[in-house]
Symmetry: C2
Subunit: 729 residues, 2 copies
């Protein structure tokens, strides 16, 4: 839906799949705006907002509410909201001290207004009573079905010519463009507006969401997705409120129908809570890597600086996505050609090989000293015609997915003329073309021409161009993936029954014997095991297993089994099992005291050689259920080389997780070992993901190790621990 | 020595330690210049150089050499070099077709000129006869002791007001400044000049060195080091000609007396030759990581884009180096404060903790809503006075090494006034202060003020600021290191004797038995071993070793011993040794044929548990002798997790190499193992480095494994191979 003031009726909220849409159009395109706290005092926020509304060319009616002033910028002031007689008053902007905000909103609601922008600070961010104030605001919004932006925000801008609303106190009104920007920091918004202007970047919508008491980053990104004017969604976020909701919404936006890229600067690394967690997974969650994984899973392009944010955004001003990573470079100088090659390769792009006919065509049209391979060198004295010939030849090559053109100003170079030919080639060839006009003063005219007339992304140096092109390639690849759900066979009821039996007994911290029972019942592949209460039972259980067995001490408080003599490996006969049993019980009692509770021993089949992995689960208060996967032993403990994702995982998520770590190379054929059974590992991850969803009471879980055998041989959990919520570790 | 035209006599070349200095001052500050190929044709190179010389304000005498023109820019042309009657003619710039270049230089030499800038292309870069032409040029330069810059270059610029020479065909004459720039690419030079201008960056000297037939990047960087006007040396290099020379010169420049930073963009990854190498070391050399290591060893700051090059260079415009990494942030907005924190931490900086008195002072002077911890938030309505108060308080704190100040333009913000106070604080506190004025248009005036009046490095966003500050910190740390040489005890003669004995027999590919003898003789710690020609000798040798032994088949062509049954481990008795010997000989013959040459077996003491490392050596045609070090097994083979440096290593180099890889963590106490004997490993690296220097005929060497025992227990080579140059493998 496009913003327009001619809305006869506000469309209702809606949903697509599990994603809920709030209708924020009345906020973005109100027919009338009241500014409570509009001020005549220059330099005040209430003045700045009025000034921006007028300078921005707002197409509706403005009502400055100020009991002390007669007029503001020639507009007659109203004494209070009550005095406004307009059933098209859709939005109230509130710029008054915090204690008066809620009463004002109530007045607005009494007049039938549902949409508010609360600029005022003095809420959660100041602590103490501010926190209570914000809770009350949110509660009132929920009760009355309101849309409240803020509090503590810069405001909202919609540059659509039929709206022309700058309801913010930013330093200027941005140019119209195709970028939608959502920012948690108001101060940063100001800086971004200022900076973007000098780069010739325009915006469709611009929102500062402040404390997000009511409207969240997720609501806003969904609303920008629905906005036809917006081609790319840029976000600055310090904290994501709900990881699962965010991932679902972002996946819909980035690879649903009509996909749009989301570019994000995410700051504010959290490490709180990580130290307190008991499991491997828990202790590694909360780090910035988890956010990285979450954003990757969501299809979001994460960038780490404002410059890169706009570099990448600029690349999306050309809506055509590249078919692949194969890149051709056309340059008029060798050195910059080498720079560009390096930049492309290190960004992840590929330098394509030309067809013979392309090389022939280039040879025919370029001087002998040129280079006819990739990168193509048209040489320093090239004019626009030679550039055009080279570009057309390269663009026609089927091996070329996109082109980077480099122009260095040399004696004969007319950059503006060359820029025009680059633009014409782009029009003609339907493949993305990106220009690097290396320099500043001289090349400005050409750069402006390329950007404004031809939508050709234009950069100064190849590094930023290559980085942006690669980000766009990744996005193009991402849009082709889909949430491939894959059925996994599990037995929820059986596992639920065991869990219930345990919790009924007050057991919430499940050691190996219990945890393995739960997983086994659920349908997770586990090593054959049996809990034996005495030596005879152990011998009997061992007899039923094919080959040697392992004994492990079992008891509710025995966590570090090896340390207390509680593990015996490779037992081959009845006698060995019996002796091991007796010795083990004796040793454990010696080391832990006679009154240690011992259930008996766990008899397990001794496993053949395989790769030992760790799978894990923890729950992050804001990000939700996190699944972890990594190689066991030093790879997890020393190198922290693990991958995270938010549950539920789809098949693509699980595949990506398996390949993500550096040690994933060890799953391939290595040093005489055959490849590992990645398929079985994938299945286990998906089962774990389903388990997490089926049992919200599971707070933490470690499967360590999951032994993954060679391809076709499957995998088995050999040890596990589960902590239920409310459990004491 | 400062550039000046009043040189009565050219100073001679000189040396410091092993570094040779060419005196290039006559090239940088000639009293008279002849331009052979000066042209009246606009757009031609010969015209552009004349124009630049005149526009640049050259302080000496210009002689345009052009037989067809009467004058150029009002200067009387000369017919030929012969017609010039001036004993202060120091430099000839050559802009004529390649075949005429050498004859012209000869004419110049006949007139007593020693310095030439050859702009002309048509040499090595075109291949064929161009290569021969360049060789002839170089040979003539060597014979006659000339300084020739180029060929195929943009030219040379010296902005010193007493010289004012722009002998280049670049697009403009740069502002005077403190940056010296050396570039292998002429086209890039043009772009850099243009770009730097818009960032307000000035240059002291600016050189394009083209094909470097004679004057190399090393000659130029040494000459910029001697130039008082130059504070930072910036380089664009595609290939380093001589790794060892480069490292020595760069170390002298960056941590010798009067250290100057070298910033480099190094493009053009080489992989040639790597595939052909037989050893582990060889197969991994030639990659970009080797260049990374080389530049780190040289003390060079490597950057990967032009933007970063100038970001970092700007930070050195303030000559004071930070005492440490402890950084204070002062901001007027929360979001940008978080961005800055993230940027600092991820760059490697530390956020300092303030003393109590600082926090008290901040509390006293800032409003209650501010933040008094790091980052300090002076809040959105802060004016210059509040910034000054906060900055002074923070600057006085002993825990603060440097300050990043962030200003976001808000309603009350007068950026120019605040900028002035930032500058005054910097003057007062003698610690580096870096400013981020977030935005563009509005904040320009303040930014210019800070840069030009106060030498305060000023950026738009915190990411580039933090990266630059960290680069400067690293440089500051580097300048404090020294080439700490450490005596290692070796026996060169003994090793030389064995090597000679082998080469006399025509043996150049040394398998384990020989290689271990050489290393043992040299004084390298090796596992006790003895070559036994029959079973009796083996039993006798084993008897003399304390504890179990290993047998390994020994023969000139047997490379993969395990594969042919040529290794037997853990032999404890005479019988076991005898049986193993006989079985081994039999099996090897079965598998390799009866006529395989077998010398016998190597009897080695079986080693206790330790970390297995690989040390290696290969020689790169341009970079020189490369030493490699890494964990053995999968870490080297699968993860390629190894560190390189150029020999000779000093102690700091070796220490850095040991800590450089990810797997270095495994040398620390891990999973119940005590720390490894890093001291012994260091000693081995230094011995290997000395070995490389002592024996230039050693082309490749692998010690695999070097078993490193726990701290205090030393290390031992357990297997090795050496390939001598001319070797057949």
């Amino acid at each position: 839906m496009t913003a327009t003031l001619n809305q006869s009726e506000s469309p209702a909220d809606s949903a697509e799949g599990s994603v809920h849409f709030r209708n924020l159009e009345p906020l973005f395109a109100p027919r009338g705006i009241a500014v409570v706290g509009a001020s005549r005092r220059e330099g005040s926020v209430g003045y700045a907002i009025m000034e921006n509304l007028i300078d921005g060319g707002y197409q509706g009616v403005i009502y400055p509410v100020n009991p002390k002033a007669r007029s503001l910028f020639g507009i007659r002031c109203v004494q209070s909201l009550d005095s406004i007689d307009d059933d098209q008053l859709d939005l109230i902007v509130v710029v008054i001290p915090a204690p008066y905000v809620l009463p004002t909103i109530k007045q607005g609601v009494a007049k039938g207004v549902k949409n508010f922008v609360v600029i005022s600070a003095g809420f959660k961010e100041v602590g103490g009573e501010g926190v209570e104030r914000e809770k009350a605001l949110k509660a009132y919004a929920d009760e009355n079905g309101l849309n409240i932006l803020g509090p503590n925000c810069l405001g909202i801008i919609n540059t659509h010519p039929e709206v022309g609303m700058n309801a913010s106190f930013g330093p200027l009104t941005p140019n119209r463009g195709n970028i939608g920007l959502i920012s948690q920091s108001g101060a940063l918004c100001s800086a971004l507006l200022d900076y973007a202007g000098t780069r010739g970047i325009g915006f469709s919508r611009f929102v500062s969401f402040g404390n997000k008491a009511d409207i969240s980053e997720v609501d806003l990104m969904l609303s920008l997705w629905k906005d036809e004017e917006t081609l790319a969604i840029l976000m600055y976020v310090e904290a994501i409120s709900d990881g699962r909701k965010f991932v679902e919404a972002a996946q819909l936006i980035t690879r649903g129908p009509n996909p749009k890229p989301i570019l994000m600067i995410k700051t504010g690394r959290t490490s709180q809570g990580a130290a307190a967690a008991a499991s491997h997974t828990g202790s590694m969650a909360g780090s910035d890597e988890v956010y990285d994984a979450l954003l990757e899973q969501a299809g979001v392009i994460r960038v780490d600086s404002v410059e890169t944010l706009f570099d990448v955004a600029a690349c999306f001003s050309d809506p055509v996505l590249p078919a692949g990573r194969r890149t051709a470079i056309v340059t008029n100088a060798g050195g910059p050609g080498i720079m560009a090659t390096d930049a492309c390769i290190s960004s992840g792009l590929e330098l394509c090989k030309f067809e013979d006919y392309t090389i022939k065509s280039l040879k025919f049209q370029l001087p002998a000293a040129g280079s006819f391979k990739n990168p193509v060198d048209v040489i320093g004295d090239a004019r626009h015609d030679r550039y055009r010939a080279a570009l057309d030849a390269v663009a026609a090559d089927d091996n070329v997915d996109q082109i980077m053109v480099i122009v260095t100003p040399q004696t004969m170079t007319n950059t503006t003329q060359i820029a025009k030919e680059i633009g014409e080639t782009r029009k003609f060839c339907k493949k993305p073309v990106v220009a690097c006009l290396m320099g500043a003063g001289e090349v400005q005219e050409g750069a402006n021409e390329l950007r404004s007339k031809y939508n050709v992304p234009t950069y100064t140096f190849p590094e930023s161009a290559a980085g942006a092109m690669m980000a766009k390639c990744r996005f193009a690849e991402w849009t082709k993936t889909s949430a491939s759900s894959r059925e996994v066979k599990v037995n929820k009821e059986a596992a639920a029954k065991i869990l219930k039996g345990l919790t009924d007994k007050g057991i919430t911290s499940l050691v190996e014997a219990h945890a393995m029972q739960v997983l086994d019942a659920y349908g997770f592949p586990t090593v054959p095991f049996k809990l034996a209460a005495n030596a005879d039972e152990a011998v009997e259980a061992a007899g039923k297993m094919d080959g040697p067995v392992v004994l492990k001490i079992a008891g509710p408080k025995i966590l570090h089994k090896s340390d207390v003599g509680g593990v015996a490996l490779n037992l081959n006969s009845d006698d060995e099992v019996r002796n091991a049993y007796n010795t083990m019980i004796k040793t454990v009692k010696q080391r832990m005291g006679d009154d240690v509770e011992i259930w008996g021993v766990l008899v397990q089949k001794m496993l053949g050689k395989g790769r030992e992995m760790i799978l894990g689960l923890s729950r992050d208060p804001s990000l939700g259920p996190l699944i972890m996967c990594g190689m066991g032993g030093i790879y997890t403990e020393v190198f922290k080389d693990v991958a995270f994702n938010v549950a539920p995982l789809d098949e693509a998520d699980a595949t990506r997780m398996i390949g993500k770590t550096r040690s994933a190379k060890l799953l391939d054929p290595v040093r005489g070992q055959k490849a590992a059974d990645k398929q079985a590992l994938l299945e286990s991850l998906l089962k774990l993901s389903q388990f997490v969803i089926d049992f919200p009471q599971v707070a933490e879980l470690d499967i360590n190790p999951l032994v993954v055998f060679e391809k076709g041989q499957g995998c088995m959990a050999a040890d596990a621990r589960i902590i239920l919520s409310g459990g004491d570790e």
